[in-house]
Symmetry: C2
Subunit: 296 residues, 2 copies
């Protein structure tokens, strides 16, 4: 997000996003190892109350999405796909002690909900990354799967994000640390996006494309919708914004991708990608860029 702020409060240094270590998920916090106990408040887990290496040490894939129900459904789907011996009834919410997030483990796959918006997924990511670090997980791939508003694409299309951008079409995430602003990169691995794209070709009737994803802080005024409680722009201005976004290579809009890309990149969650299922174009008045009319 953006604003004017005192120059004295500004620190726009970019942080190095180089991959560190031998594939281990790592934290960038010098205080963590000296803590007697690390309580993962919002996951209802902790280093003294749970044996995290035993519980999570074999995790290789983490799939996250906003809705708790959908992430449970995804866990059941993965259980079927992986043909695991244990029963479906054994798949319990590991975070049942809290209603902030839900978490399911299916063999080497974790399925976790993160709620809506950058702050909500950010809290989950801080605690998930610490969880994977304490569990000494190695070579972990994280994928966000979620609905989004499509721009100029057929409803139902899958957008594989190669770059997350902010409301100003910039590939960056601005993190306020105390009262300083730090800019972090939101670039994703294009080779892996291509790999995922090639997989999609094997599935019939599965419209998939690679494109940029725009992440906003607001669902209504921030995404050009005309049906919020507040709307101060004209239909034409909203359409013009979406058309400029399309011309900048943006194919869908959601509310979590920039902080997801920035944090995973910083903490060695390598090979991560973001998959966004465009269930329908949200814009109440069809922007006319897609090849079908709006569907809900």
């Amino acid at each position: 997000m953006t604003s004017s702020f005192p120059a004295s409060n500004t620190s726009m240094r970019s942080e190095r996003n180089t991959y560190v270590g031998k594939g281990f998920v790592h934290v960038k916090n010098p205080y963590l190892d000296s803590m007697d106990e690390d309580v993962l408040y919002h996951l209802d887990l902790g280093t003294k109350t749970h044996n995290l290496p035993e519980m999570f040490g074999d995790v290789k894939f983490v799939c996250v999405g906003g809705s708790p129900n959908r992430m449970k459904a995804f866990a059941l789907f993965m259980h079927k796909e992986l043909r695991l011996e244990d029963s479906e009834e054994d798949i319990k919410d590991i975070c049942a002690g809290t209603d902030r997030y839900c978490m399911y483990k299916i063999g080497p796959v974790l399925s976790i909900s993160h709620g809506m918006g950058i702050p909500s997924i950010s809290i989950m990511l801080h605690e998930l990354i610490k969880l994977l670090y304490h569990a000494r997980c190695c070579d972990v791939t994280i994928i966000r799967i979620g609905t989004s508003g499509g721009i100029g694409i057929a409803p139902g299309s899958v957008v594989i994000t190669d770059r997350a951008v902010d409301s100003f079409f910039k590939p960056q995430f601005e993190q306020v640390i105390l009262d300083n602003v730090v800019t972090r990169s939101t670039e994703l691995d294009k080779e892996l996006a291509e790999e995922l794209f090639n997989c999609s070709k094997e599935i019939p009737d599965f419209p998939t494309l690679i494109g940029h994803t725009m992440c906003t802080y607001d669902f209504y005024e921030g995404q050009g919708r005309l049906d919020g409680a507040l709307c101060s722009f004209s239909r034409e201005k909203g359409l013009d914004y979406l058309k400029r976004a399309y011309n900048a290579g943006i194919r869908n809009i959601e509310m979590e991708s920039t902080v997801f890309a920035a944090m995973c990149r910083l903490c060695g969650l390598k090979d991560f990608k973001r998959v966004s299922t465009c269930l329908y174009c949200y814009f109440p008045s069809c922007c006319g860029l897609c090849d079908t009319s709006q569907q809900t």
Copy 2:
């Protein structure tokens, strides 16, 4: 939140926050009345599928909080307090068709969850305000009740917010509309804060104070915590930030108050206040400002 952005994208005009109408909740969207149907996506309600005036026309108080379980517990508490004739079993989640938010109605009181962070509560507020508008509700008071991190106060204290401020201690909320930034006021009604404060005096052992509340976009790096996956500042710098916040009149930190204050003020949800229960000081290393050591 803050950042640098192209001057051409900047619009720092302040919006008028004057109270409009005869106590009716109102929207500021010229397109809404011409819509054939208004679907409140995230509440699983709509103007064609539900008789909103019949369902919600008598609402006078709306209480919101982050956790679905807590807002259900609050609904049951209100049912007991109001001594309503209907049975506890009749209190059902009105938004059961979605897992984004939960909503309970107890006589003239609505109890709604909003998840964590500005984007999550913002979506709920857009749809709640439209719901109250379609239901032709009048003279509605909205109160946010939630946990927060206390600064320089006893754990367990209740902070009645007189002013919501951002990470730079400014009493404003910066809304990105398309790629423009609009600054909105986050002042709350001090007379009503006083009224609520006087009520608290009637309850024994109920430590209550009036103060400013700081709203951040991040729980770890944004609030000076040393126990996130990422921490780039020293313990001393974190403590200095909290001490500067205390000296600026801030008594607690949370993640929703600025957009809550700004949106309610714009839409005629009059007499609104925000109550924040400081269950414990979150800062892992006690800032030494409070009169008790850190408790969890």
